[in-house]
């Protein structure tokens, strides 16, 4: 009996599958092949191939000139050298972490705070909104240029206002390796906060007002309402913010590159990759090894995120 039912179910399932297959016209099949095939090809060509090529190249010594036969297998030499004798590597590694910390503990909370304030329908709300959002509209490279105008020791605003560059006394935040990162992180947070603000504001606007009204009727204070009602209700947005923050911290590049090519206290993993691969130097294997390190670091938040989102779906 049980076997009958089982076969019955199986037969039924098989029939249904066949039935569905029959209903697919040739046109549908072509369309499906395109819809699946093109993204597979694109991700394969633009993501998976370069990723594996980088991983492969990171074990080689190559100056990027000539055919594949000029690539020499080098084992783990690049990794060993990066970790032991390449002075900019560990500072770069640390700076990426500082960057992440600054965005996570200053930039993102500041953006959320601004969004929360703007959501209160204060006067000139739209005006503030535009002002706060401008840094996102400006390209990071321009932010780098602005930083020059403000912080350049010889001609910059800060130095001219608070020191005397005409007589050789300057305020040099960008040139001082101890201060440069701080100055740049302020700029990065400024930009990041406005990005976070706009996303979070959209989330707040979409929030059902009755939730807050209910909390208010129950006598909850503003802060309490925020932490007990609003914040949990916006969980999907919060996850997006976490992801954005991590991505922004790991891909940081433009601002430091335009300021001083990411040297002298502004080293980041991304600029070390560029300096080794893109420049006249062309240490392809060496740069690839740094790229693999960055990829490995990036995988940690990505895996946590993917794991989290699949868990929620299950």
């Amino acid at each position: 009996m049980a076997a009958d039912i089982a076969t019955g179910v199986r037969a039924d399932g098989a029939r249904r599958r066949r039935g569905r297959a029959v209903r697919l016209s040739n046109g549908d099949r072509v369309a499906m092949a395109f819809m699946v095939g093109i993204p597979v090809l694109v991700t394969g060509a633009l993501i998976w191939f370069p990723t594996f090529a980088s991983i492969g190249l990171s074990f080689t010594n190559w100056d990027g000139i000539g055919g594949l036969h000029t690539i020499h297998w080098d084992g783990t030499t690049n990794y060993r050298q990066i970790a032991t004798i390449y002075p900019p590597f560990w500072p770069a590694f640390r700076h990426n972490l500082y960057w992440l910390a600054a965005l996570a503990f200053i930039g993102t909370p500041l953006g959320m705070f601004l969004a929360y304030q703007l959501d209160k329908r204060i006067r000139f709300s739209r005006f503030y909104q535009s002002i706060f959002y401008i840094p996102v509209v400006i390209a990071p490279a321009i932010i780098g240029l602005i930083s020059e105008l403000i912080l350049s020791p010889q001609q910059g605003l800060v130095s001219s206002l608070f020191a005397d560059p005409r007589h050789g006394h300057v305020i040099d935040w960008l040139g001082n390796p101890q201060k440069a990162l701080g100055a740049v992180l302020i700029l990065a947070c400024w930009r990041h906060a406005s990005y976070v603000m706009i996303i979070y504001l959209a989330g707040l606007k979409a929030l059902d007002p009755s939730l807050r009204e209910a909390a208010a009727i129950d006598g909850a204070s503003g802060t309490r309402t925020y932490f007990k009602v609003v914040l949990p209700a916006l969980k999907p947005i919060n996850i997006v913010l976490v992801v954005i923050t991590v991505i922004e911290a790991l891909r940081a590049f433009d601002i430091v590159y335009i300021i001083n090519r990411g040297r002298n206290g502004l080293e980041l993993l991304s600029v070390l990759i560029t300096a080794n691969i893109i420049g006249e130097a062309s240490r392809i294997g060496y740069g690839s090894a740094i790229a693999v390190v960055l990829l490995t670091i990036s995988l940690v938040p990505i895996i946590i995120f993917v794991w989290n989102s699949f868990q929620e779906e299950a």
């Binding site: 190249l57 040099d172 390796p177 335009i258 420049g279 960055l294």
Partner: protein, 443 residues
């Protein structure tokens, strides 16, 4: 990177625009690298190549890194060329720094027939990689127009010629005549006099010596000259070629000697560009600026006329002042020029006296390398620079042209910057340089 052209402040905006565009390109590549896309030397190739322009039989393409006054100066040359040979020249002007950074992929992609480049190891490196066309036949014709040193500088490791030199400039200590006259300073001959003068300037409320290092390359000139003054030219050549160790007493002595100057340098060295240094000289807030003579290009013409130079002082009498950095620029043929005859005519012409005369009239921060260059049109500063180079026994090309590009850019720039922020830690610095040198040179 020792070869930034003169820049006037009103050109700066334009300059920055250009560098922003190239930055976006590198930014995109950087982001790609993050996604694991680092294997994409090919990505940069597309940006640098200019293959889409049509090439007819009576035209030739030229890639140039000229900036500011160099652009119209070169345009005057190509116009003369077209007039003389009836061959059209299509010039593609690239931003100076990015052109150097993308040279690898540029030369492997679809390069122009002729491209501007630098003599010395930097030329030999690409010639040895088969990315340039030998032009021995051109040299058979033009050799009498050049001093032997220029031919040597144009010759690859395989003994063939690959470059026709156009211009060079000396690295020397520059100062403003009017300021020195007012304060009664005289050019120092020895290290002790140099220090004494610096002390005097400091007492007079000046920044004695300008040093700027935001660009990364200017301190290489300081290392070069102190090294050549203390250890001689051959030591410089062998050290740059990777044949000598860096953690030796000789190299440490260079850094320690250099460290004596730090009390007299500009404030905020690592945040200043060379143009900032030129401005300090122009404003008479600094007494001396050691840089290539091209620095006058960043000044107002009236002030530029007030600039004079003296060779870097003697440290070891054994060597005296027998060496100088005087980098040579020139033109090369790419691997497979589409119009090889016209290309050869063009490289020869750009190095000829008529072309140089026309060029230097517009861009006067340089000197013509051709014997027949009209020196009577030189400014006093140019004349002095030319005399200085002619009377100096050994001409070096500058650290980033005399050594491997990867060593210069990924090891020496950060190392010299770390020396500047911490001049006291010479021992650990030279050890670190040596380890990286072994990793790059393989010995």
């Amino acid at each position: 990177m020792s070869d930034e052209r003169p820049q006037s402040s009103d050109q700066e905006g334009l300059d920055r625009q250009v560098s922003r565009r190239t930055l976006l390109v590198s930014g995109a590549t950087g982001a790609a690298a993050l996604a694991g896309l680092s294997a994409s030397g090919a990505a940069a190739r597309g940006f640098a190549s200019r293959a889409l322009d049509s090439v007819s039989a009576d035209s030739v393409t030229l890639a140039s890194y000229e900036e500011n006054a160099g652009i119209p100066a070169l345009a005057a040359d190509t116009k003369l060329f077209t007039k003389k040979y009836g061959i059209d020249v299509k010039t593609h002007t690239f931003a100076h720094g990015p052109f150097q950074e993308q040279i690898n992929s540029y030369l492997q992609g679809h390069p122009d027939d002729v491209f501007t480049w630098f003599a010395g190891y930097r030329m030999q490196f690409f010639a040895a990689k088969g990315l340039a066309t030998p032009i021995d036949d051109v040299w058979k014709v033009i050799a009498p127009q050049y001093a032997p040193a220029f031919k040597a500088a144009a010759t690859g490791l395989d003994g063939h010629q690959y470059l026709v030199p156009t211009k060079n400039y000396p690295w020397a200590v520059h100062y403003r005549k009017s300021l020195w006259k007012e304060k009664g300073y005289t050019a120092p001959k020895t290290w002790a006099q140099f220090i004494a003068l610096a002390k005097k300037m400091q007492a007079d409320g000046l920044t004695p010596i300008a040093l700027t290092d935001k660009d990364g390359w200017p301190p290489m000139g300081w290392f070069d000259i102190i090294n050549m003054r203390m250890n001689g030219y051959q030591f410089h050549v062998r050290l740059m070629a990777g044949k000598l160790s860096w953690d030796t007493p000789q190299v440490k002595a260079v850094f320690n000697k250099w460290a004596e100057l730090f009390p007299y340098y500009s404030e905020g060295i690592l945040g200043l560009t060379w143009q900032d240094g030129a401005a300090q000289l122009e404003n008479k807030q600094t007494g001396m600026f050691f840089l290539g003579s091209f620095l006058t290009g960043a000044m107002k013409p009236a002030n530029a006329k007030d600039v004079d130079l003296f060779p870097f002082p003697i440290i070891n009498p054994k060597w005296g002042q027998d060496s100088i950095d005087a980098p040579i620029d020139g033109n090369m043929l790419s691997k497979k020029p589409k119009n090889i005859d016209a290309a050869k005519k063009l490289v020869a012409f750009l190095g000829s006296a008529p072309a140089l005369n026309a060029y230097l009239k517009i861009n006067s921060g340089n000197l013509g390398t051709n014997k027949h260059t009209n020196t009577s049109a030189y400014t006093p500063l140019q004349r002095k620079g030319a005399r200085l180079i002619a009377s100096t026994k050994h001409i070096a090309q500058y650290m980033d042209r005399d050594t491997r590009p990867d060593f210069a850019s990924t090891v020496m720039i950060p190392s010299l910057q770390s020396f500047i922020s911490n001049p006291g830690s010479v021992d650990s610095l030279v050890k670190s340089i040596q380890k990286q040198k072994v990793a790059i040179f393989g010995s």
